[in-house]
């Protein structure tokens, strides 16, 4: 899962990015409206944290432009002016949720988790596919109730695929969503992760669609 943080306060941006990385997300940071807009416009993010008061271009304009251009990534607004009219404006501009400053980073993490889940069409904090259960809050995976130890990259691949069951996910898409901008991307590593995942889970959950990518078929794994 890849998240964009657009916040002009360097400290706060750093705190958010650190917490998100710790929670297993790939994070890109932008410090003004224009940079934020450019990144959101060109990179495929799974969720965006957007401050309203930004230099160069304010958050609401950035958001409106994304929505006009058809960018549909869920957006969590950060607002210091917690007046209701600001919230209404934010939602009307296309935001999916808002958090009033000052906030605890945990609160933002919870909202982001909910947004990503909602965007994928899931309602609970747990993704289930056959015997495999993935707890989004604890970042834990079990097969038939037995915990499976995964590295953070393996977890990220599994989480992304389970968020997008019944869809073919290409290697490029996986790379784009698993790594932040500065990461040296090599799609071969994805193959390695998938291979290790198959071994660790011990069941044939992830199928390879030749020439296209990977898929988890929820129907064939229904319990």
């Amino acid at each position: 899962m890849r998240i964009l943080v657009v916040e002009d306060d360097k400290d706060l941006n750093g705190q958010l990015a650190a917490a998100l990385k710790e929670a297993g997300y790939a994070v890109d940071c932008a410090f003004d409206g224009e940079e934020g807009h450019f990144l959101g416009d060109t990179e495929p993010y799974d969720a965006i944290i957007l401050d309203i008061g930004l230099p160069q271009m304010d958050g609401l304009s950035v958001l409106e432009q994304w929505r006009r251009d058809g960018r549909a990534a869920p957006v969590l607004l950060l607002t210091a002016r917690d007046r209701w009219s600001d919230k209404v404006q934010g939602i009307d501009a296309g935001a999916d949720d808002y958090v009033a400053k000052p906030f605890h980073v945990e609160e933002v993490l919870a909202r982001i988790r909910a947004l990503v889940r909602r965007a994928a069409g899931h309602a609970s904090n747990e993704l289930v596919c056959g015997p495999v259960r993935l707890d989004l809050r604890a970042s834990r995976v079990t097969v038939d109730g037995n915990p499976v130890k995964l590295t953070s990259h393996e977890y990220k691949v599994l989480e992304y695929l389970m968020h997008h069951t019944d869809k073919v996910v290409s290697r490029t898409e996986l790379t784009e969503h698993l790594y932040d901008q500065d990461f040296d991307r090599d799609s071969n590593t994805i193959e390695v992760f998938v291979g290790r995942l198959r071994k660790k889970l011990g069941i044939d959950l992830i199928e390879t669609v030749r020439g296209l990518g990977y898929r988890i078929d929820s129907a064939s794994h229904a319990a």
């Binding site: 706060l12 000052p102 909602r118």
Partner: protein, 454 residues
């Protein structure tokens, strides 16, 4: 009309003034008329007196035969009201009189002056009629000086004057009525600009207009301009302080967020810092809200349409609580208008609906109705949820500042107390009751503006 009213003052001054003028005019007319009538009467009597003297007094004494030629037939008709009489000034004996006297006497106590000047005598004639006479002392060549009196009917003259008085006073009374109407029209017309100012001000109070509009006479133009300046500066002050407050909020909140999140771990410094940062956050929140509220009390002409505010907040709530599957039903009368600031209504509705959504199991209902009580238009808001509800003692606590009943639901806990204070500030009421669906039902009454108030 109230006692202290310009219209009443003008009407009183004009009414009293014209009443006095009309009465004086009437009296002057009547006096002039009476004088003129009397002068004519006296002139006629004088002619008769001269003629009588010429005809009746000869060298040999009094010649009654000649008196028939005086030229006034009424002297011959009995009790006609026109008489003459000649007395001897020495004995007072009547030497001759007109036939009309028919043997009666015209009683006079004294005699005209010796100088021979004519004197006017008011006397009673036969049958008690009032007479007006002229009498003069004549000294014939032989015999004693004579007093010659000619008298005519004064009652007829009085009746003529009375009739004139009646005509004058009725004419003047009609005048007075016309004048009164004219003055009423004048007062209405003259004071119309003031009424227009009042109407304009009412429109401003109701938020229909931002300033007093229209052309006014030069006497009240300065007043209107001053009022407009006052209205404008009032609004500007509110706007400015609101911007300041917003800027301050923005400037402080980001650093506090950084502090709160930087203070990780359990060492003494981190715990202390976290604790103090949270206190700072709550204090800032509290005082910024109060500053905002203080800035916007007593703003004339603040009126907010209710439906768009509720719709906006519901858009936010539906989006934010979408994932939890909560249905938000609204039943809002379209033409409702709140007598107050938009931001305050947003704060009240927003916090209550947000709370209801946080606690609801599946359904939140918001209802807005107009309500009339004691002739005042009120806005009646009902916000209900089907959550766990709130026991009686917690309800009072919920409305106190900073009280948070459950730390597990996000929010600073200041929501309900600011609602309570805002409602109080607007002179409204709020009560928390059990909802039919089992949860909490908040009932709020706020001042409203009715179209009919204009």
């Amino acid at each position: 009309m109230r006692r202290n009213s310009l219209s009443l003052r003008l009407a009183a001054i004009a009414g009293l003034g014209s009443a006095i003028a009309l009465v004086i005019a009437g009296l002057v007319f009547i006096t002039l008329f009476r004088q003129s009538v009397e002068r004519n009467f006296d002139a006629r009597l004088n002619v008769l007196l001269q003629t009588l003297v010429g005809a009746a007094i000869t060298e040999e004494g009094i010649d009654t035969a000649g008196t028939a030629l005086v030229g006034e037939p009424r002297f011959s008709l009995p009790q006609s009201g026109w008489y003459w009489q000649i007395r001897d000034t020495a004995s007072g004996e009547v030497l001759a009189d007109s036939d009309s006297l028919f043997g009666d006497r015209l009683a006079l106590a004294d005699f005209p002056p010796a100088s021979g000047a004519v004197r006017i005598a008011m006397l009673k004639g036969p049958a008690g009629r009032g007479l007006r006479g002229l009498e003069r002392r004549i000294s014939p060549p032989s015999g004693p000086p004579l007093a010659v009196l000619v008298a005519g009917d004064a009652d007829a003259m009085a009746a003529e004057i009375a009739q004139f008085r009646f005509v004058v006073f009725s004419t003047l009374a009609i005048f007075a009525v016309i004048l009164a109407f004219g003055m009423a029209g004048l007062v209405r017309f003259g004071l119309r600009p003031l009424r227009e100012v009042r109407h304009s001000l009412k429109l401003v109070e109701l938020g229909e207009k931002a300033s007093l509009e229209g052309e006014y006479p030069e006497e009240i133009t300065p007043l209107v301009n001053d009022l407009n300046t006052l209205l404008r500066s009032n609004r500007e002050i509110v706007e400015r302080s609101r911007t300041h407050v917003g800027n301050l909020a923005h400037a402080l909140k980001t650093p506090i967020a950084v502090l709160i999140n930087e203070a990780k771990g359990e060492d003494r410094l981190a715990v202390k810092m976290r604790e103090q940062a949270v206190i700072m956050r709550d204090q800032i929140h509290h005082h910024l809200d109060r500053a905002r509220m203080a800035a916007q009390t007593n703003v004339i002409g603040a009126v907010t349409p209710v439906a768009p505010v509720i719709e906006g907040i519901l858009r936010v709530m539906r989006k934010v609580h979408e994932a939890r599957g909560i249905t938000i039903a609204d039943d809002v009368q379209t033409d409702l208008r709140f007598r107050g600031e938009k931001q305050d209504l947003e704060e009240i509705v927003g916090n209550l609906v947000d709370n209801a959504c946080k606690w609801a199991a599946s359904r939140v209902t918001i209802k807005a109705r107009s309500d009339k009580a004691l002739g005042e238009s009120r806005l009646h808001l009902t916000i209900e949820d089907d959550g766990p509800g709130l026991p009686g003692d917690s309800r009072q606590r919920a409305l106190r500042r900073g009280a948070r009943l459950d730390e597990s639901k996000p929010g600073s806990g200041l929501g309900l107390s600011i609602v309570f204070e805002l409602v109080e500030l607007y002179g409204g009421t709020i009560s928390l009751e059990d909802a039919a669906a089992g949860g909490l039902s908040a009932q709020i009454f706020l001042p409203a503006v009715d179209k009919s108030d204009i």
